[in-house]
Point group: C2
C-alpha cells in the first residue's frame, strides 16, 4: 500500500496525496476529504523511510539514561517523556550504562537515524562529542551538572548548595566526625557535593579526616561497601553524608547489619529524595532534587531548540533548581513533625 495506490483510487496525483499529509491547507476541502477517506479505507500508512529520505526529520528524540535501575534517573526520564508525548515526539530511551563507548555508539546510531534532538541525563560525553552533534545542527540539552564549554542548555540543581545544607544540618545536630561518601558518577555533581561538604567542615572549624571521604560505585551496593569501610577504619564517623539516596539505602543496610543504630550512633543524610527514601527505616533525611520537574524542563528546552528554526541567538539557557533539605529521622532530629508520607 503506497501513495500511488491511494492517488489512483482517489483519482488524483501523488502530489496531492502527499500534500494532504504535509500541507493540508493547500488542498481543497473536497479533495482532502475524498483522499482521507481513501486512505482510511485502504489502511494507508506513509512509508517511514521514504519520508525520512526526503525530510531528514523524524519527530523523535534520543533520551540517554545512565542506569535504568536507578530511580533517580528514571524519574527524570519520566518527566522528559511526559513532555515528549504531549508534543507528539517519540522518545527513544537509551540505556548507556555509564559507559562512554556505549554513549558514543548511541550517538552515532541516532544521528544516522536522523533524530531531531538529544536529552542527555548525566552524560559522560566530552565537549568534542557534544560539539560534533551540534555541528550537525541537532540540538542537545544536558540534564545534570556537566563541565562543558559547549553552548548547550543545561538543567541542573545546585549540588554544592544542597550538600552544604545537608552537612550544615549534621553539624547543627551536634555531629563532629562527619564522613562523605560520594559516587563515581556523575562526576561533576559529586565534585560539587564534596566541595560543599569540605567548605562546611572548614567553616565549622571541624578537622577534615581524609579517611572520612570516599568514592564508591553509585549504587546500593556501593553504599553498602562504603559504609562498612568507614566503620572498619581507624576514625569512626558519627554521621555520613551520602551523595545519593540510592547509595544511602545501602549505607543504612550496612549499618543495620553491623548493629549500629541510626541515627543514635551514626546519622545519615542522602541526596535526591527518591520515593524509597521515606520507606526505609529510619526514614531518610535527604536533599530534595526535583527530578520529575527537571525532566519536564529539559524536554521543554529541547522542544524550543528543535522548533525554533530561526537561529535567534537566544541567551545560553541554564535552569538551576534550588535544593531543599528534607529532614526525617535518619539524621537524628527529634521533632518528627516534618515527617510526612511522600508518595
Amino acid at each position: 500500500m503506497n501513495i500511488k495506490e491511494v492517488a489512483k483510487h482517489a483519482g488524483v496525483s501523488v502530489a496531492t496525496v502527499s500534500r494532504v499529509l504535509n500541507h493540508p491547507d493547500s488542498v481543497a476541502d473536497k479533495t482532502k476529504e475524498k483522499i482521507s477517506a481513501v486512505m482510511e479505507e485502504l489502511g494507508y500508512q506513509p512509508n517511514w523511510f521514504a519520508r525520512g529520505l526526503n525530510l531528514n526529520k523524524t519527530h523523535t528524540i534520543g533520551l540517554f539514561v545512565p542506569d535504568i535501575l536507578d530511580p533517580s534517573y528514571m524519574e527524570i526520564a519520566k518527566g522528559v517523556e511526559d513532555i515528549a508525548h504531549q508534543r507528539q515526539y517519540t522518545a527513544l530511551l537509551c540505556h548507556t550504562e555509564n559507559d562512554l563507548e556505549k554513549e558514543r555508539n548511541y550517538v552515532k546510531t541516532l544521528l544516522e537515524r536522523k533524530i531531531d534532538g538529544f536529552v542527555l541525563i548525566s552524560t559522560l560525553l566530552l565537549d568534542g562529542d557534544i560539539q560534533a552533534i551540534i555541528e550537525q545542527n541537532v540540538p542537545v540539552v544536558l540534564i545534570g551538572q556537566h563541565k562543558t564549554n559547549c553552548k548547550v542548555p543545561v538543567v541542573q540543581i545546585g549540588c554544592k548548595l544542597g550538600a552544604k545544607k545537608a552537612v550544615e544540618h549534621l553539624v547543627e545536630m551536634g555531629r563532629s566526625n562527619i564522613a562523605c561518601l560520594y559516587g563515581r558518577t556523575p562526576k561533576e555533581e559529586n565534585a560539587q557535593k564534596t566541595e560543599g561538604y569540605q567548605e562546611v567542615l572548614a567553616d565549622a572549624k571541624l578537622e577534615q579526616q581524609p579517611q572520612l571521604l570516599a568514592e564508591v560505585e553509585n549504587s546500593i551496593f556501593g553504599g553498602y561497601v562504603g559504609a562498612r569501610r568507614f566503620m572498619a577504619g581507624d576514625v569512626v564517623p558519627d554521621a555520613i553524608f551520602v551523595s545519593s539516596d540510592v547509595m544511602a539505602v545501602g549505607v543504612l543496610d550496612a549499618l543495620r547489619g553491623m548493629g549500629i543504630a541510626v541515627p543514635e550512633d551514626v546519622a545519615v543524610v542522602g541526596f535526591d529524595n527518591i520515593r524509597m527514601s521515606s520507606l526505609v527505616e529510619p526514614k531518610l533525611t535527604t536533599v530534595e532534587k526535583p527530578l520529575h520537574n527537571m525532566g519536564l524542563s529539559g524536554m521543554r528546552l529541547l522542544v524550543d531548540a528543535m522548533e525554533c528554526t530561526e537561529e535567534l541567538e537566544n541567551p545560553l539557557q541554564q535552569i538551576t533548581f534550588e535544593p531543599k533539605l528534607i529532614v526525617r529521622k535518619s539524621s537524628g532530629n527529634t521533632e518528627r513533625i516534618l515527617e510526612i508520607f511522600h508518595r
Copy 2:
C-alpha cells in the same frame, strides 16, 4: 557524503560500493580494499533511510515496559538489552505506562519504522493486536503470563505455584487469617496468584474471608493503601500475601506507620525478589522470579525467530521458570540462617 562520492573517489560504480557493504564476498579483494579505504577517508556512513527503503530491515527491536519506575520490570528489560547488544541489535525501550492505547500507538509507530521484532513485557495487548503484528511477519515474544491463543513464544514463571509456596509457608508459620493483596496489573499473573492463594486456604481448611482479598494499583502506594484498608476492616489479618515486592514495600511502610509489628502481629510475603526486598526492615520473605534471566531468555527466543528465515514450524516455544521461596524475616521465621545479603 553519499555512495556516489565514494564511487567517484574510488573510481568504481555505485553498485560496487553497495556490494562491499552488502555482499563483500562478491567483490575482488583489491577493489574491496580500495573502496574500504576511501570510505574510511571520507567518513562515509550509509544513509539509514535509503537503506531501509530498500531492505525493510533495521536490526532494531521494540521492548515494551509497563512502568519504568518499577524495578521488577526494569531488571527484565536489562536482561533483554544484554542479549540485544550482544547480538548487535538496537533495543528501543518503550514505556507504555500500563495503557493499552499507548501500547497500540507504539506498535503502530514501530511497525512503520520496520523494526525486526517485539519483546512485550506484561503487555495489555489483545490477541487481535498481537495477531496483526505477526501477520506483518514481525516476530513477537511475550514475557509474563498472558491469556492468548496466538502462536507466540512466552517466557513466564509459575505464578500460581509461586503463590502457593508463599501462602503455604504462611500457613506453616501458624497464620490463619491470611489476606491477599494483589495488583491490578498484570492481569493474568495476578489471577493465577490469587487462585493459588485460594487453593492453599481451601486445602488447609481455612475459611476464606472475602474482605481479606483486595485489588489495588501495582505500586508502593497501592500496597500502602491496601494494607491500611485491611487493618481498618472488621476481619484483621495476621498475615498478608502481596503479589509484588514493590507493593509489599508499601505494605510494610503502612504497617510500620500504624505501629503494627512485622512479623509478630502481621507476617508479610511478597513476590519477585527485587533488590530492595532485602534492604527493607524487616527483610522481606518473597518468591523469587528470575527477572534478569527471563529477559535474557526472551530476547534469545526473539533472535531465533528473527533470524531463522526458514519458516520451520518450530513447536510453540514456552519457557516457564520455577518460582523459589526465599525466606527472610518478614514472614516470622526464627531461623535467620537463610538471610543473606542479596546484592
